[in-house]
């Protein structure tokens, strides 16, 4: 047991240098067996349907909403393709961008935006995959968005500063995504081996990249909200991120 632990420590000092962390948040095409892939599709589908219902409802009364959601999907796509150097891992990683969309548009539309960005990446960049689309939606879209949104709302309810709330929303959305990805991966590749040891090993492998990256994602979300607050507070009110009385004239 002690030996296994030592080998784990050795390997996870080495593994993060090998893991293509630039795509760490996305589960690669084909890595999940059929039954797991189908299960994650079934789990993610109601959330995507929820997003679509909300999207159709709002876009039927506001014609500018479709282009807005499409453009935000493009922003999330680009943010989640941005390679960011992670010195501790000696490699690059990328933020998710779902914290931003969850804070701005709420979890339902954020899930939809993440699904669209993930599908384009899967089809044309081999970043994620079509068979793992459900699992990727679950980790990056559902868990990331809902966590980011709830953290932001909770901190705002307890009267926390807007930039700290946004920072924590981005940070927690990123870390929640990475933990879910680790769990989904461990379940998919464990075979007959027990789940928990493999889950901890995969999580440990991603820590050197994802810990600093979560901070980066938090800073990015905070920077975005602060910039909008300074330049276009009306948009934050329109998106119901802030109440009208919170915006100083």
């Amino acid at each position: 047991m002690r030996n296994r632990l030592a080998v784990s420590l050795f390997t996870f000092h080495f593994l993060p240098c090998v893991v293509p962390s630039a795509y760490a948040m996305h589960i690669s095409e084909g890595i999940l067996p059929f039954n797991w892939a189908a299960l994650w599709f079934a789990v993610a589908a109601p959330f995507v349907a929820w997003g679509l219902l909300r999207f159709n409802k709002i876009s039927s009364v506001d014609l500018s909403f479709k282009p807005l959601v499409g453009l935000l999907a493009a922003v999330v796509f680009i943010i989640s393709c941005m390679p960011v150097p992670v010195p501790t891992a000696g490699t690059c990683s990328h933020p998710c961008g779902t914290g931003i969309s969850a804070v701005l548009l709420g979890p339902a539309l954020s899930i939809l935006i993440a699904s669209a960005a993930l599908l384009i990446q899967a089809l044309f960049l081999a970043h994620g995959g079509l068979s793992t689309w459900g699992a990727d939606i679950l980790s990056m879209g559902v868990v990331g968005s809902i966590t980011g949104f709830l953290v932001f709302k909770f901190l705002r309810v307890i009267k926390m500063n807007i930039s700290i709330s946004a920072f924590m929303a981005g940070l927690m959305a990123d870390w929640a995504t990475y933990l879910t990805t680790s769990a989904v991966l461990a379940l998919g590749i464990r075979g007959d081996a027990p789940f928990l040891p493999l889950f901890w090993k995969i999580s440990a492998a991603f820590i050197p990249a994802q810990l600093p990256l979560g901070i980066l994602e938090g800073a990015m979300t905070a920077g975005m909200v602060v910039l909008l607050y300074k330049k276009r507070p009306d948009l934050l009110v329109k998106m119901r991120v802030l109440k009208p009385e919170e915006v100083t004239p």
């Binding site: 593994l15 084909g30 059929f34 892939a37 800073a219 905070a222 910039l227």
Partner: protein, 251 residues
């Protein structure tokens, strides 16, 4: 981004095939690959798809870019399974006071997963290399993917390049002003970059809506019209899926 842009420039009989037929074919083969437990079938699919990529003369750089990430992930999975999963020890060695053990069954499982990854990625790569985005969107809408979702995809795809160029301009400007000198400053600059992109997205979406309304936009975006199915194409595809299905069953 260049890899992304060159995709629809391929010119071959595979590119000329109906996107709906290619998509259904790819989904069928993908299901077979991920439901197979072993090496032979995914390797056969990989070989066929690589042959297809060679046939349509996919540039080597583009090809390597597409496969580099899955290959690295496959290697990591093999390492994980070899050293941390299994019962039958293949070898055991002491290194710096630590005993490292490799497991035969772990290696077998790891290799099977790696083959599955490469087989599945090759199917999607061939589909991506031979199908343009608009054709694929039109095929998705034919497959009854909700229209709203397809519209989001089309808007996103249209503006990825525009926003990417904006991001590049802002990033270069920030870098020239030492915006990324130091961790704290870098974090602030990165936040401003993301915020600026979101602001631009808001402003652009408003401008796009105005210009679309002026051109008669009523909330509906027309999809690409499908030409009728070509019977030969459909017949050959069904036959190929059957052959692949038999291989999946007997291998």
């Amino acid at each position: 981004m260049h890899v992304f842009r060159d995709i629809d420039k391929q010119n071959s009989w595979l590119s000329a095939m109906d996107a709906r037929v290619k998509l259904v074919f790819a989904l069928a083969v993908l299901c077979m690959v991920i439901s197979y437990k072993g090496f032979a079938f995914p390797l056969m699919v990989l070989a066929c798809c690589l042959g297809g990529c060679l046939m349509i003369r996919v540039p080597l750089r583009k090809f390597l870019l597409r496969f580099s990430e899955p290959m690295l992930i496959a290697s990591v999975v093999i390492i994980l399974k070899f050293f941390f999963s299994g019962q039958e020890a293949l070898f055991s060695a002491r290194f710096a006071g630590i005993t490292i053990t490799g497991y035969t069954d772990g290696l077998r499982e790891g290799l099977a997963i790696a083959c599955r990854i490469m087989g599945a990625v090759s199917v999607m790569a061939l589909l991506g290399f031979t199908t343009s985005f608009t054709d694929l969107m039109s095929a998705l809408s034919w497959l009854r993917v909700p229209k709203g979702f397809v519209e989001i995809l089309m808007f996103a795809y249209r503006y990825i390049f525009v926003i990417f160029e904006d991001a590049q301009v802002i990033y270069t400007a920030q870098k020239n002003r030492l915006g990324y000198a130091g961790v704290r400053r870098g974090l602030v600059s990165f936040g401003t970059l993301a915020g600026s992109l979101v602001l631009k997205a808001f402003e652009r979406s408003h401008a796009i809506t105005v210009s679309m309304i002026q051109r008669g936009y009523d909330g509906n975006i027309p999809m690409l019209q499908h030409r009728p199915f070509r019977p030969l194409e459909v017949f050959v595809s069904i036959l190929t899926v059957c052959v692949v299905g038999v291989a999946w069953k007997i291998l």
